[in-house]
């Protein structure tokens, strides 16, 4: 046990050629088993319906060889670089520069976001993409309250998104209520459902909590599909009113905004308006979350993630603390849902599948649980980056998957893994992700 750190490092460079070869052989053997049927034998239905097959041992040999060689290369790299550690790859002076630069990332990103409609005014595609990214930023920030702060794994977040969207769609089409009246109502209804979900899962932890929240998301979707008289079932709700600028519609007519301002009408006005609308909603989410973290309720959420038993011993009501986390997260999901409905003008249950929940959860995990900036960057990477790979066509998913796996190897606790303290005496020091718990749920 008395081996000191430098000795250990020597030891890792110790295992020589036999070790590397052994590892490469094992990898190659696994590859051989895996690919022998998938690549080695090709089957097809013949002209008369019988099965014809032919072998492709050449391709198989090539793949297994690539795995063998790749394993050796990776192992050599690993020994050359030592254990994956940022400190080794980047000299301290550069690291210091990075921390200073890190302080300006958030303001710079915000200013750039504010200017997006100005810079890309004529590029409708980019504006649409930016709106989509911001929607996911908002969803990510909302889910971050539940998963990142309170440490409760929620796989059914899309349910609240759906509740918000249908709340607005049904209230607006049936009762003619305006977007600005429906927005708080959508948030309220979603948070009500958040509490409804919260009650049964209060005592659940870990995998069990994940399963119940997953089921909850599916229940909401199935209810929407099957309650045809109210929701229109699989046909969805169409003709959802577009948002107005406090009563002034963004239409080409005489009472439209363009006519009132005396400028020529352009459909881009509506897109720009939608952009700033979702930006405002996302920033509201961010502001509220940052404020909440510094209030007793936010500290109680984080304490709950760290140690629930200690919370109870300190007189914290864990029931209400969990329920408020679910309700707050759900409320933001509801806001985002209402925005989604007004932007699309049409919603159907297809928009609220489990895949959406998984995507939002991936954004939160990738960003670094609990970090606001990390979640925003992750949403940009996940949604924007996915579009970036469009040129790769059928390999898009593959490249994207590999990129995510690599990122998780490089930064297992997300892009921004450290935690900023909510209160300090002298100096706020970032807390290493090694100490911060992931929560029990």
């Amino acid at each position: 046990m008395s081996v000191s750190a430098p000795d250990k490092k020597l030891a890792t460079s110790g295992p020589g050629i036999p070790f590397i070869l052994k590892k490469a052989f094992i990898s190659a053997a696994v590859a051989l088993v895996l690919f022998s049927l998938m690549i080695g034998i090709r089957t097809e239905a013949g002209p008369t319906g019988q099965l014809i097959y032919w072998t492709r041992f050449g391709d198989l040999a090539l793949l297994v060889g690539a795995v063998f060689g790749g394993s050796i290369v990776i192992e050599l790299f690993r020994q050359w670089l030592g254990p994956a550690d940022m400190g080794q790859l980047i000299p301290p002076s550069v690291q210091g520069g990075l921390t200073i630069a890190g302080r300006f990332v958030a303001p710079a990103l915000l200013i750039f976001t504010l200017l997006v409609p100005v810079i890309f005014y004529n590029q409708r595609y980019i504006l649409d993409l930016a709106i989509l990214v911001l929607t996911y930023v908002m969803l990510g920030w909302g889910l971050n309250v539940v998963v990142g702060l309170a440490g409760l794994l929620d796989l059914g977040y899309v349910a609240f998104y759906a509740v918000g969207a249908y709340s607005y769609a049904l209230l607006a089409t049936n009762f003619g209520l305006s977007f600005w009246v429906c927005l708080p109502l959508a948030g309220l209804l979603a948070s009500l459902w958040g509490v409804m979900l919260g009650f049964p899962v209060l005592r659940l932890r870990g995998d069990y909590l994940a399963i119940v929240t997953l089921a909850f998301g599916e229940i909401i979707r199935l209810v929407i599909i099957n309650w045809q008289s109210l929701t229109g079932g699989p046909n969805g709700v169409s003709g959802i009113p577009r948002p107005t600028l406090f009563g002034i519609p963004l239409t080409p007519g005489d009472d439209g905004l363009a006519a009132k301002l005396g400028i020529e009408f352009s459909p881009t006005h509506r897109i720009v308006f939608l952009f700033y609308l979702i930006l405002a909603l996302a920033l509201l989410t961010n502001w509220v979350t940052i404020r909440l973290r510094r209030l007793p309720i936010g500290r109680a959420w984080e304490a709950l993630r760290e140690d629930e038993v200690a919370c109870r011993a300190l007189g914290i009501n864990t029931t209400t603390t969990k329920l408020t986390a679910f309700a707050t997260g759900a409320m933001f999901g509801g806001f985002a849902g209402a925005f989604f409905a007004t932007r699309q003008g049409f919603i159907s249950p297809e928009s609220f599948t489990f895949q959406e929940s998984a995507l939002v959860l991936a954004i939160v995990v990738l960003g670094g649980m609990g970090s606001q900036l990390g979640v925003a960057l992750a949403a940009l990477a996940m949604i924007g980056g996915f579009e970036l790979f469009r040129g790769l066509e059928q390999y898009r998913m593959l490249v994207f998957g590999i990129a995510m796996v690599l990122l998780m190897i490089w930064r297992p606790r997300g892009l921004i893994g450290h935690r900023a303290p909510t209160v300090y005496l002298k100096q706020a020091q970032a807390i290493s992700s090694d100490l911060v718990k992931e929560g029990h749920g």
Binding site: L292, P296, R299, A300, E302, A303, Y424
Partner: protein, 277 residues
């Protein structure tokens, strides 16, 4: 005996299935006194603690808490967080349970949750930054600072609790419990894993908590030097029952206690004592 007790345990029984962990235990913890609960491993001490602090619901018996001028509170009827919130009973854990990813200061702020929650108007006033809440938060930080200074951790206030040395974590957990401003402080093996110097500092801290803060202390401890030095009253348990009670001096010389600790028969223990003296 019951006149000046802050906590009275009467006929406490706790069963887990067929196992009787605590059997018909009665004792009292004096007001502004340090009461020690000792006994060999597995005697049921921590079970008693868990009953008092609401983590277990006792199978039978009564737990009464009486504060100055207040009506008695039946602890066995309150559950988990209410014991700390309403009855003002705070506890620490045998295996330290701090919030490791939060700073020492934050740990002490979380302990003042209920007071701050009220001041923040259940979050709504706090969200808009009402001056009343800001003042309350400042007071909370001052209280935290007071305790950090008291345990000598003021310089490490902004460090993550999980990064502190073991002894500091033990003291921080006691400070965190004290930040809930308890009338009864329950400490589960506070000296476990501490060296002689740290144990001495701990004894001093506990004596000053009793003297200056006026809190009553109930502690489980294996470190006899701490128990004998600071306790006013010692209760000895073995196999879920009380085998002795009294001042530290009385208990130390009790053959039953020695037998329990040495795992020998009572007669043998007496023989050992007589041959020794």
């Amino acid at each position: 005996m019951s006149g000046d007790n802050i906590l009275t345990v009467e006929h406490l029984t706790m069963r887990f299935g067929g196992i009787v962990a605590v059997n018909d235990l009665s004792f009292g913890a004096g007001h502004r006194k340090i009461t020690a609960l000792i006994g060999p491993n597995g005697a049921g001490k921590t079970t008693v603690f868990n009953c008092i602090t609401g983590f277990y619901k006792p199978t039978g018996g009564a737990l009464r808490l009486r504060r100055d001028g207040d009506a008695e509170i039946a602890l066995e009827r309150l559950n988990d967080f209410r014991i700390s919130k309403q009855a003002k009973v705070a506890r620490t854990f045998q295996n330290i349970r701090l919030f490791p990813g939060m700073t020492a200061l934050e740990n002490l702020m979380v302990a003042q949750h209920n007071a701050l929650m009220q001041a923040s108007g259940f979050t709504f006033l706090g969200l808009i930054g009402a001056p009343g809440y800001r003042a309350a938060e400042k007071r909370a930080i001052d209280l935290a600072k007071f305790w950090l200074e008291r345990i000598g951790l003021i310089d490490r206030a902004d460090d993550a609790a999980g990064n502190l040395p073991y002894g500091d974590q033990r003291r921080l957990e006691i400070a965190r419990a004290m930040c809930t401003e308890p009338t009864l402080l329950c400490l589960d093996e506070p000296a476990a894993g501490l060296n002689a110097r740290e144990s001495a500092a701990l004894s001093e801290l506990l004596l000053s908590i009793r003297g200056e803060q006026g809190a009553s202390i109930l502690l489980i401890e294996h470190d006899m030097s701490v128990v004998m030095e600071i306790s006013d009253h010692v209760v000895v348990m073995d196999y879920g029952v009380k085998i002795a009670e009294g001042t530290p001096g009385n208990v130390r010389d009790d053959p039953k206690v020695i037998a329990a600790y040495l795992g020998a028969d009572e007669e043998e223990a007496i023989a050992v004592m007589e041959s020794g003296s």
